[in-house]
């Protein structure tokens, strides 16, 4: 596990946990185990706080993307005074009847990239690490990894990604940035307005040229927006 220092434009410094071996990964993802212990939304949110404790952090900034955003928001509702600022990137967890979210649990492997990325061809390469899904072995490898992750995600996202977070969001008093890819085809940008309306202290920023996988598609503007907000 490695920490890295980032300098913000305003001269403050942030300590950021770096990806790579030893970095904590959510159970059910990568080689992280223990997924059978997390069964519902409360388990997920408390696991998030367990991780904060295990890392010895006090009042951290919390950033969550997609399902991670749903977990981060739930954590912030449970312990509103235990975090500093919150960044939600295209978060799941809210459902608008007039804009139903596509069912990612009912998609062919090659259909995923279409809803996740503004540029599906580039997205597919990012998703598969460049593997060719018409090759049976590559498909099997990709399928097994994806199935394991989505099986875990399904515990809070299936069949509808709504575990009644909306009624608890009034408790989310942390200052919050809601970031959205302007071309998000999975959770469309209309959802940003709903999050802003439900969170007492939130602002919304939309980033052009990005779909649901905003941090992968436009990493520079994404990091800029986050760093600027946290500074």
């Amino acid at each position: 596990m490695k920490w890295r220092m980032i300098d913000t434009k305003k001269g403050t410094r942030c300590r950021v946990l770096e990806g790579g071996s030893g970095t904590p990964v959510w159970p059910g993802y990568g080689d992280s185990t223990g997924d059978e212990l997390l069964e519902d939304m409360l388990d997920f949110a408390l696991h998030g706080w367990d991780l904060v404790d295990a890392l010895g952090l006090s009042r951290p900034h919390v950033i969550g993307h997609s399902m991670g955003g749903m977990i981060a928001a739930e954590m912030a509702c449970l312990g509103p005074r235990d975090l500093a600022r919150l960044v939600l990137v295209g978060p799941a967890g809210v459902w608008l009847e007039e804009r139903p979210i596509p069912d990612i649990f009912a998609m062919l492997p090659h259909e995923l990239a279409d809803v996740l990325f503004v540029d599906p061809a580039r997205g597919a390469a990012l998703l598969t690490g460049g593997a060719d899904l018409s090759d049976m072995e590559a498909l099997k490898d990709f399928y097994i990894v994806t199935q394991r992750r989505l099986a875990m995600a399904g515990k809070i996202l299936f069949p509808i990604p709504n575990r009644r977070l909306s009624k608890r969001l009034y408790r989310l008093t942390a200052e919050t940035l809601v970031l959205w890819g302007a071309a998000d085809r999975l959770i469309p940008p209309e959802y940003a307005a709903q999050w802003k309306a439900l969170i007492p202290n939130a602002r919304v920023q939309t980033i052009e040229g990005a779909g649901h996988m905003l941090p992968w598609e436009r990493p520079d503007p994404f990091v800029d927006a986050v760093v600027k907000f946290l500074a």
Partner: protein
């Protein structure tokens, strides 16, 4: 051998271009394709067939549960079974079965199955499928990764409810009931025979063997493809030190009998192709949502269903392929007898679920095929397992003095009768 006449109850009016116009026969099939007025006729045709099968001498008559499905008109198989309980009196009524992970609370299944067992005089075979992912996850909203755990808990509640003579509290993860007190209770003791339909999950084998339940492999792709799976099952049976009674296992098989092989093709080809081309046209992700199968099963199995090639196979199937590859067993009584013997011995099964009605087959052809089978094939396959002639562990044990309501006219005068003591 025990033979059960099974009807999936397909909708016979799917349009010719169904495959091209719609992505799935299941889950999101356009429900405008269903016509309730035609449905009235269809139900009665199918119910009549099930009753007819009893008169032909089949040991059982069977139904199952599917939701939002173009080849199944039985979201509630228990309603079908209830009508059969009143109109038949000899055959086993095989409900294969109730997808118990989807019932809230599952005590409902204990109650309804008990009702059916009592109404039928102890003729219920109770099936407890995990349920296909189409039914249990996509139509009934259960979380895929938790479905098996919820199934396990539902099974525990039902079996405890049937066994217990006193009210008890059930503190489950998915179901909490302070007062479980099954009323009525089944006639068959300790419980009706229990069948676990499996589509190929290897965990199901151990579950069946833990409780000595029948393992029913329900496939539409015939015994050549079923062989490796049943071999795996029997290996497991041996490893667990259980006896190898063929009645531990059941298999479903599409069967078409005619006077000659050529006549079988002439009579039944279009209906079987309707079944394979249209009724099995399922959008692949509906069949395998993440978490529905365990990782062990995912790694064990092939991913062929996700490939375009597999979809193409169903699209371009011919009668010759169906017959040559034994997806179906079709032909003269002698052809059918010979192939079925190979199927039964090869898979080592004591129970055969026979599918005589296929796709959009009209009533007369279904009856013709069933009758030929009952008269010319069934008698010659009866005694394939002489060593297990008296093994009734996986079959019904009805009351001897049960009533025969189908023989009474509803309006007939009845003599004054007190409640029997």
């Amino acid at each position: 051998m025990k033979f059960t006449w099974f009807n999936l109850m397909p909708w016979p009016y799917l349009p010719d271009d169904f495959r091209e116009r719609h992505r799935s026969v299941w889950v999101d099939i356009p429900n405008t394709l269903y016509d309730p007025r035609k449905g009235h006729h269809v139900y009665h045709t199918y119910l009549d067939q099930l009753e007819y099968a009893e008169t032909l001498g089949f040991d059982g008559i069977g139904c199952n549960e599917h939701h939002q499905n173009g080849y199944g008109l039985m979201p509630s198989p228990n309603l079908i079974a209830a009508t059969l309980a009143r109109r038949t009196s000899r055959a086993a009524i095989c409900v294969i079965g109730n997808s118990i992970a989807g019932y809230n609370p599952p005590i409902r299944v204990a109650e309804e199955f008990a009702m059916l067992d009592v109404m039928s005089g102890g003729r219920l075979v109770a099936g407890f499928p995990v349920g296909t992912s189409m039914d249990t996850n996509f139509c009934y909203g259960q979380i895929p990764a938790l479905t098996r755990d919820k199934y396990r808990e539902a099974h525990e509640m039902i079996m405890k409810a049937w066994a217990s003579d006193e009210p008890f509290a059930f503190d489950g993860k998915y179901n909490q009931l302070r007062w479980v007190n099954c009323w009525p209770k089944p006639i068959q003791k300790p419980h009706p025979p229990i069948y676990i339909p499996g589509g190929g999950s290897i965990e199901t084998w151990d579950f069946c063997l833990d409780y000595d339940y029948n393992y029913s492999y329900l496939s539409f792709f015939g015994y050549l493809r079923g062989k490796s799976l049943l071999d795996g099952y029997w290996e497991r049976v041996a490893k667990r030190g259980k006896d190898d009674s063929p009645y531990r296992a059941a298999f479903a098989q599409i069967i078409c009998v005619a006077d000659s092989d050529a006549e079988a093709e002439r009579l039944y080809a279009e209906h079987c192709l309707y079944f394979f081309n249209r009724c099995l046209h399922v959008f692949p992700p509906f069949a395998d949502p993440p978490g529905y199968r365990t990782m062990a099963t995912v790694k064990y199995g092939a991913l062929s269903q996700l490939t375009r090639a597999r979809q193409k196979i169903l699209e371009n199937l011919t009668w010759k392929q169906l017959v040559d590859e034994r997806f179906i067993i079709a032909g003269s009584p002698e052809t059918v007898r010979q192939q079925l013997e190979e199927c039964i011995k090869g898979l080592r099964i004591g129970h055969l679920f026979c599918l005589f009605h296929n796709g959009n087959m009209p009533d007369w052809k279904t009856r013709h095929s069933s009758k030929l089978f009952a008269e010319k094939v069934m008698p010659r396959l009866r005694d394939l397992w002489p060593d297990y002639k008296h093994d009734e562990r996986w079959w019904i044990h009805p009351m001897d003095d049960r009533l025969r309501p189908e023989e009474q006219r509803p309006g007939a005068e009845k003599k004054h009768e007190e409640w029997p003591r």
